[in-house]
């Protein structure tokens, strides 16, 4: 039972990070390989805000959430906007370079030391007993709820709001969308903002649960097979992919060796790419010529 609970937490984390990849890819066909660094950045921002507003944890959290949206927006406007219409691979390389830049800057600003935003907020991460001998930390339980809330929110947004529908339209056919009067840059900027928001939530929760240091970006990269298994342009796929990868990982740790946990997601990924490159739920696109 405890295994199931552990898997559930990991699924929630992976699904949150994965939704960031999917949002951007779905709307702009850019694979954002700086996702790990972005979630780390948001987590560090939370840490700084928590230090600033020590007494008001709620306002620190709200501020971090707002900042995460802002970071995505600014990134798009300053940097990625220039890459629209360029080769897809060039845009991807820009995100890689962005990741390097951010990583360097973050070490400069926050040093590489372990930071614990939870303590700064003045909260405790007490374990919750869930019955049947299962226990999870309270942050872990929150993570599951946050993931569910964000996914429900995203589904509603894409299904029922005008801009949600428009973002899907832009993702499918940008030219036609533009001809129908949809502002492409608004759609792309919103995708970036939402992606940093959901990835940032994962970063903040991870940092609250187990602290924050330079290794967080690696978790972002590990979540990346999740979206490929599920299909790069499908939110539903991200959940299923998270389920598959997280189960494989937790089981591999328990049954084989903790050391393999790093490579398991990539093995699952290779298997998927060999069989069905566009993922379980992805649309079978012309897998772009370079």
């Amino acid at each position: 039972m405890q295994t199931v609970a552990n898997i559930a937490v990991l699924v929630a984390i992976y699904a949150l990070i994965g939704s960031g990849y999917v949002l951007i890819y779905r709307v702009s066909r850019v694979l954002n390989l700086a996702q790990g660094e972005l979630m780390m950045l948001v987590a560090y921002l939370l840490f700084s805000l928590a230090t600033l507003f020590g007494g008001h944890p709620a306002s620190a959290l709200a501020g971090a959430v707002l900042l995460s949206l802002l970071v995505g927006l600014v990134l798009y406007v300053v940097l990625m906007r220039r890459m629209t219409g360029e080769l897809v691979i060039a845009a991807v390389l820009v995100t890689i370079a962005l990741g390097i830049l951010l990583r360097g800057l973050m070490v400069l600003v926050w040093t590489g030391q372990m930071a614990r935003p939870l303590e700064k907020l003045g909260w405790q991460n007490s374990p919750l007993a869930l019955g049947h001998g299962v226990a999870l930390s309270s942050v872990a339980v929150t993570t599951i709820f946050v993931a569910i809330a964000i996914y429900v929110g995203l589904f509603v947004f894409f299904r029922y709001t005008a801009w949600g529908v428009r973002m899907r339209a832009v993702g499918e056919n940008p030219l036609l969308a533009a001809q129908r009067g949809i502002k492409l840059h608004v759609a792309y900027a919103m995708a970036w903002a939402l992606a940093t928001f959901s990835g940032g939530c994962a970063g903040m929760l991870l940092a609250l649960d187990s602290g924050l240091d330079g290794t967080m970006a690696i978790i972002g990269l590990k979540a990346f097979p999740v979206v490929l298994v599920g299909g790069l342009d499908s939110l539903r796929g991200a959940i299923v992919g998270a389920l598959i990868v997280a189960s494989a990982e937790v089981l591999a740790i328990q049954l084989i060796d903790p050391l393999v946990s790093d490579v398991v997601p990539f093995v699952v990924l290779i298997a998927m790419l060999a069989v069905r490159p566009w993922g379980l739920f992805g649309t079978e696109e012309d897998i772009q010529r370079v």
């Binding site: 629209t84 219409g85 360029e86 005008a162 529908v165 428009r166 899907r168 339209a169 499918e172 056919n173 940008p174 030219l175 036609l176 969308a177 533009a178 001809q179 129908r180 009067g181 949809i182 502002k183 492409l184 649309t283």
Partner: protein, 271 residues
């Protein structure tokens, strides 16, 4: 046609694809407010290119207006991004990929951005109007547009374009995939809309018969150049048009494709 009344005017337009393929060259034409203008020409003449030059290209298309101007309501709009052109009141029914295939029919209509100041209720009413015009769409409103037939897609594309509250509607191959009765129906509707909303239409057509029925003016494009223009009356009476677009050979029998090619070549040199 006076220059003053022209809503859209192309001046010596030249479009180059991929920096090497010159698709149209020196195309000039005028569309006056409230007119229906037909743009005719055989395959590869550059009709689609002309329309796309008006609505603007995206970076990925790797196409540019390299020379000439596009005037719309007295402003020059060449090489502007498509969304800005759309906001100025130009809507297009493209030749291919005219609907969002992963969106349902209703979503396709709702994704369009209406003119400024349109309320949500107003927009919903107008979506209903589109369904009234095209009952087939209403029946299919929850289906993904990717599963529609060619003709249904055409209806959806026209409906969506009208929802952008255009002042100028560009239609690339209206009759494509539609039953002849529907085409007639649509043309009548276009004429009605013109009366009702003051809509102006630039119509690209393969079938000269159809287009010349409703048009106020026609242009004939060959090899990326305008070779002939005039009222439908004049065009219908022109010998070449009769022969090559209306399918009536001068001597009573049809000529072979070889002769058509010969004709084109001479057109290119002398036209």
């Amino acid at each position: 046609m006076s220059a003053r009344g022209a809503l859209l005017r192309l001046e010596q337009l030249e479009v180059v694809y991929q920096k090497v393929v010159t698709a149209i060259q020196g195309v000039s034409l005028e569309v006056a407010e409230g007119q229906i203008v037909a743009l005719l020409g055989s395959n590869g003449a550059g009709k689609t290119t002309t329309l796309r030059a008006i609505t603007g290209f995206l970076g990925v298309d790797d196409a540019r207006v390299t020379d000439g101007r596009v005037w719309f309501e007295g402003r020059s709009i060449e090489n502007q991004p498509p969304q800005l052109v759309a906001h100025q009141g130009i809507a297009i029914v493209p030749e291919r990929q005219k609907v969002f295939e992963t969106l349902t029919v209703t979503e396709n209509l709702e994704a369009t951005v209406p003119g400024a100041g349109t309320t949500r209720a107003e927009q919903r009413r107008r979506v209903e109007r589109v369904f009234e015009h095209f009952p087939r769409l209403h029946a299919a409103r929850r289906r993904l547009a990717g599963y529609l037939s060619g003709g249904e897609r055409q209806m959806l594309a026209i409906g969506a374009a009208l929802l952008c509250t255009p002042r100028l509607l560009l239609v690339d191959e209206l009759s494509q995939g539609l039953a002849p009765r529907i085409v007639e129906n649509l043309l009548e509707r276009l004429v009605e809309l013109r009366k009702e909303l003051g809509l102006t239409v630039l119509l690209v057509e393969q079938s000269a018969h159809v287009a010349l029925q409703v048009a106020d003016h026609g242009y004939i494009l060959e090899n990326g150049r305008v070779v002939l223009d005039g009222t439908p009356q004049r065009l219908r009476e022109h010998k070449d048009v009769q022969e090559f677009y209306l399918g009536q050979a001068g001597g009573g029998e049809r000529r072979s494709y070889r002769d058509v090619k010969q004709y084109r070549r001479s057109r290119r040199w002398y036209g």
